[in-house]
Symmetry: C2
Subunit: 662 residues, 2 copies
Amino acid sequence: MAKQKLSNARIQRDIAVGKLATFCDAIKLGELTVPIVTFLPSNVSIEISPDENLLRGAMKAGIHINASCGGSGVCGKCLVYLEKGRVTGEELAGGGWKACATYALTDIEIRVPVESQMDRKALERPLARRAASWMQSHGSQIHWQVHPIVTKINVTLPQPSFADSVSDLERLQRELAQGQLQGVNIAVDNQVLFDLPNALRSANWQLKVSLMEAGGFGQRRLIRVESACEGHACSQHLGLAFDIGTTTVSGQVVELEHGNVLAEASNYNPQVSFGEDVISRMEFARKPEGLFVLKSKIVGCLNGLIDDLCARTGAKKDDISLIYIAANTVMTHFLLGLETKFLRQSPYLPVATQFPPVRAADIGLQIPNHVRLFCAPCVASYVGGDIVAGVVGINMDRQSALTLFIDIGTNGEIVLGNQDWMACAACSAGPAFEGGGIQHGMRATVGAVEVVRLHPETLEPMSLTIGNKKAKGICGSGIISLMAGLFMTGALDKQGKFRRDHQTWRIREGRDGWEYVVVGQEATSIGRDIVFTEADIENLIRAKGAMFAGYQTLLESVGMTFDDLERVVLAGNFGSYLDLEQAITIGFLPDIAREKFFFAGNTSLLGAKASCVTSEAIKRQKTVAEMMTHFDLSGNPSFMEHYMAALFLPHTEASLFPSIAQ
Amino acid sequence: MAKQKLSNARIQRDIAVGKLATFCDAIKLGELTVPIVTFLPSNVSIEISPDENLLRGAMKAGIHINASCGGSGVCGKCLVYLEKGRVTGEELAGGGWKACATYALTDIEIRVPVESQMDRKALERPLARRAASWMQSHGSQIHWQVHPIVTKINVTLPQPSFADSVSDLERLQRELAQGQLQGVNIAVDNQVLFDLPNALRSANWQLKVSLMEAGGFGQRRLIRVESACEGHACSQHLGLAFDIGTTTVSGQVVELEHGNVLAEASNYNPQVSFGEDVISRMEFARKPEGLFVLKSKIVGCLNGLIDDLCARTGAKKDDISLIYIAANTVMTHFLLGLETKFLRQSPYLPVATQFPPVRAADIGLQIPNHVRLFCAPCVASYVGGDIVAGVVGINMDRQSALTLFIDIGTNGEIVLGNQDWMACAACSAGPAFEGGGIQHGMRATVGAVEVVRLHPETLEPMSLTIGNKKAKGICGSGIISLMAGLFMTGALDKQGKFRRDHQTWRIREGRDGWEYVVVGQEATSIGRDIVFTEADIENLIRAKGAMFAGYQTLLESVGMTFDDLERVVLAGNFGSYLDLEQAITIGFLPDIAREKFFFAGNTSLLGAKASCVTSEAIKRQKTVAEMMTHFDLSGNPSFMEHYMAALFLPHTEASLFPSIAQ
């Protein structure tokens, strides 16, 4: 800790009185440097953020500390002893500190007690390794040139006179035709005529006009006129990007001058009350008013998010110039109020896969009338606009590198290809990786166990919950780390069954068969043990098996193997702890060079954002949707064969997982 | 009367019991031939329709019969004596028949009594001469090739399968692209997506689609899909054409297969409650909600007419494919809800002169959502879409003959030119020719005196009212014939003042100055005398003077004179009695060869109808609106000079009216 302008204690006090939001703010402000924590006896050192407790630090460092309550401070098992430096937190009578409630104030050394320690052998396991961030590694390549589909330009018109008495609209059109839009066919929204006369006269014939690219042949549509104005009085030029997932809806406000994201917000898709998955919701849609109810729900959700995003940025709805939405095929149908009956019946036809832009107000959004809403084009019933937007979002259609793009949402979709060709498929993996079909599975929110590491001998867990709250359940990354941990410690065999002879109370025969106790009821917020059952594991094996068989089928269809892959890009909301090694260990990801993996987060939202920033992204999505060859895996014999072979940990064919076999 | 299958008495009975609507029906049915009536002593014979009373017959024959009650049967002055043949009607005690209530049953001879007779000299006046019908003389040239802007075509799609599982919309687009619309860019209304899945599946993948020409470059827009069907189950393909005048709104239903008019309806423009003329309505529009009220009124009127037109033809609203409206600039602004404030302020700018099509439902019409409403383009504040539509309606933009087009509505607009160039102007003639600003002026409806002929010595009138009802007032054609009659009999001098020394009680000094009593109060429905005053005449002289000065100014602007005119086409709702000779006598029309005059009726509605029938008419209106050179007469010194010279009967410069001077 070389530099420290303020004492950490002073900063802590500032945080307490609300002067600083977090330690991170202080670091950003340059007021504080990052403390280093050294774990003894293994002598591993890492930097630790001042708002990260020591338990999270240990997790990051690969140090095991028993912590069965997820870091909520209940179990008191995560004791550590301060050897050097200063900390703040809860010191217990015996001189120990609870790691889950203790923060470094200076560089420190702490000693892990013997009951938490592992022998050296355990330390030789590969450390947790996260996939590299796609945005960090490739962000520079996907810097969009800002050129939104709606542009705002200033126009000054000549004042009218008897000698020049053309109508207001003709005056404007004449000026546009003489300027940068020479020869461009400009259609006019009727709405514009209501605003034009007063807008012209209230700012001395200086206008700001919004023009939208429309139709083909470089046509434009005049969708809005405002008085030109200076500084703060002027409306902003904003786009809203949304990803509508089956489970979660996320949105961003993007300013369209430089393409920066001003704010993000997300919420659950309220349609979940009518079914967890798209199939049950389509069933609901067949009831009288069912489709209308589903549409109203998602529209209400978007309205709420828009209010939220406006509030966070101080934007007015009048500042919004366009909305772009990426969603799967079924969600897009629900949003637009389109019939989903025939999506459920063989041969599973969508009403449309390319959707004409609509007025946002027409579908019920509380948005000024000029704002158009665009939906990302879909490929087929189960490969939707979220995937197409994702492909464009990560620039896959502009690069020669052979890429496997994997989007794990409520379903699992994959795309294989590059700028020249693409093949895609939906793997019917189900929502297991989002916690669906898992007894204590839950979404990645506060109270979810997001990571678990097991003591290789005692099987005592070191678990962390999101928000350090009492555990409510286990989310996707927690599930993967649990399964990988149980398999690597030998507690789970290749078929996904528990060893019955393990010397720990945590593996037991429960009401629903054999299970592992992740969190005892005293440390949960649900009043009972949180367990991970053989039935859960069976679901997970089926899910990862479907994904893996999908990869194989697509590769095989083009005569390639995993060795040909130059990149694997993972998309989805896994929380921050998805561990590559663990995901490969259970056979969910292929066992190839780790540096080929990238984690790209919510690529659907990324593509939607790109579509706000540049109209080129919209055009590219159309091209991508048209160029993708869709494989229907459900009737594919090769897929079924691969699937059966993948129902083992990591796989029946060991040669596919050389690093795990080792 | 050669042929007579039924006795006229029998036919009369059938009419009485409602079996036949009128005698005319009987004639049409071939049940009756047309009787001939011979007036004695002048021995003039004419054919007379069995539902025309003898007074109307006399008017047509140029025979004077005193009849001061307008033909309502009240005054009893129109006695005639039957010499031969049979009549039906009211026979009086002395053996005479009231001409206004008597109908011919056979060929007849009747004697006009001495008090009604004129000397031969009076008979040598030119007979009433109506302008030739434009439609009868030129109708064959303006037969529109049927090619509406919305076309309906049948498409049969291949049934879907797993091997061909593209979306419903893509399936349709693919089929259209392979058919007659190869290479055409087809945009899609979002609405279509709601109807498409069920429409496809309910008629075995056979569709009827409505495509609208849109944008430039031959683009199309898919606005509607229906199940293909056979015969009566199928929707019709109809257009609605409207002319919205300041005073009257007229509409037609046009079937778009062959371009035939199926029904017509009209009503008053209910905005009259808020002002007789456009100026007072624009003042009203400045009140809070004023514009909204005016818009609602006209929309309500259109809705009523649409219901009426549907009822008359048995059409459903679903059968309507498009609506075309021709209206003056102010009416168009009101209809679309556009600000008229700046039309009232120098330099009098419309918001727009070319109007983007709107969804009819969006402006409040109770019409399915796919129906677009088009408005005829305008030229300037006071030369509107009614004029532009009229010019295209009479084909003026396609002919080399130099034409003067005169539209007398609530204002008076004129266009001079041919296919190569056009000049136009509004003459600010005011509504005098529609009865406005005339003490007993009224619109051409039941009870209006529509024609008056004066006994050259006694000045006793022979007047007819519309519907043979008691007189309520005098309409345009009545006003012109009154003024011409008074002038020709010498009762009125060139300045439009009554001779004070005339030996008739009918010319008297009234409350408001000198006046002529057209109908005594005993024969009116308003309980007082209907008079025609010097103030009325002054207004009329100003109105006809403005029109005439307008003709001169436009001609002069292109270095031409009246002699260069090849045609004069009169448009407007003058009723059936506008008499060319009378109109020239008062200097309202130029004194040129009578065969150059044509009467075309409501040309605005004609142009609107053409625009339903063929999209070419819509494009031509755009071209016409752009090619017209607009002359603002209000500030034109040449116009003011001509106007001052025209404030005489017929004109200061006698050489302009050689046939009248004679």
